[in-house]
């Protein structure tokens, strides 16, 4: 059964194999396509990505420990009719021991020049699905709660006493992906 998450709500994830799915409906108007991106930051105890390959996004679809796999970029929302358009498959059993936390973020690509925000995107959500049953564990509707924002921190999986928990953060930002990356990465970013 789906839990519609509240900010700060913590759940014992109780799963190893899950998918973090992002879905939205293509823009059928005449404007720019809405290009939503799902990204995951695998963070060490200093809350930094230990190596750049531990940042999973459209430009890097697999983590070195093979724990995370991104299905690839959907620039329009057209990949699936009604289902997830971008998916990050998570296998917690494979996560590198250095990684203490996996942070999930959704951003709207090029939202500045295209003058876009979540309020304009139709039927956008991010959710967690249990891969063994196909059932939805948690879901955020992005359009309703984040009408003027261009980025949403969805939540984080984190280790606690040998177990993984999920904390829903649901924080909206008027920022882009580089903003989040600059918090967790000390190398160069080309925008």
């Amino acid at each position: 059964m789906a839990i519609n998450l509240q900010k700060g709500q913590k759940i014992d994830i109780g799963l190893n194999n899950m998918s973090v799915g992002l879905g939205w409906t293509p823009n059928e108007g005449t404007g720019f396509a809405f290009d939503l991106d799902a990204s995951a930051f695998m963070l060490d105890q200093s809350r930094l990505i230990p190596e750049e390959k531990y940042f999973i996004f459209y430009g890097n679809t697999d983590s070195p420990d093979t724990a995370l796999h991104h299905s690839g970029d959907d620039p329009t929302g057209g990949n699936s009719d009604g289902g997830d358009d971008e998916t990050i498959v998570v296998d917690l059993a494979k996560v590198d021991p250095r990684v203490q936390e996996i942070l999930f973020v959704v951003t709207i690509y090029d939202s500045g020049p295209r003058r876009q925000n979540f309020g304009q995107v139709r039927d956008s959500y991010i959710r967690i699905v249990d891969n063994s049953t196909g059932l939805e564990v948690a879901k955020y509707e992005l359009g309703e709660d984040f009408s003027i924002e261009t980025a949403v921190e969805f939540g984080r999986l984190y280790r606690r006493d040998g177990k993984w928990k999920f904390e829903a953060s649901g924080i909206g930002y008027k920022e882009d992906l580089a903003f989040f990356l600059s918090k967790y990465y000390k190398g160069q970013i080309i925008k």
Partner: protein, 226 residues
Amino acid sequence: MAINLVKGQTIDLRKGERGETYDLSQVTIGLGWDVRKKNGIGGGFLSKLLGGEEEEEYDLDAIAFLLDGNGKVANLGRTADINGRSIGLYEGDIIYFNSMRHPTGQIWLTGDNRTGAGEGDDEQIIVRLDSLDQRYQKIVFLVAIYHGRQQHQHFGMVENAFIRAVDHQGHEIAKFNLSGDATYNGMCSMIFAEVYRKDGTWKFRAIGEPHQTDSFVDLLKAGYTY
């Protein structure tokens, strides 16, 4: 923008402009910097006594090594007498201020700018990768401050210095700011980037590795093969 360049550490957030979508049939390596007013550093009173609005000149140079399949500069050229000066590494596989045009004509330095005066790129190395002889498998691009050690100059002091790579369509592939960051204090040269053949096409890789030496010859001798 503070840029902390560690070898290989670059995340490119652009879509549709990554990797092979660049038009690498011709690549321009652009190097730019600004002259700096000396009294801006030393304090007004003393520097005025010493001559006031003097400008300190930095002479940055763009350099290219053409490497063969073994990752070596195969042809070190010859020593030539040019206008009464003895010039080494002339007409070999190194493109630099004393040997600006490669014998094949497919890669050249547009000129030696010694002060950085002017907007935009002050020096450019242009390479027609599509026409480049098959014996060249990789080109490594460098930047160095001419006589930097002797003049006590380093990238941490140069104003608005950058090196960038631009593809044939004018798209900037990579750009590193060389100044305004403590990381570059004491650094007089940098291995900027390389282009290399892979599966019949050319690939670009940003490297951004700073070095203390001001001489590309040191880097050449150290066997910078990448």
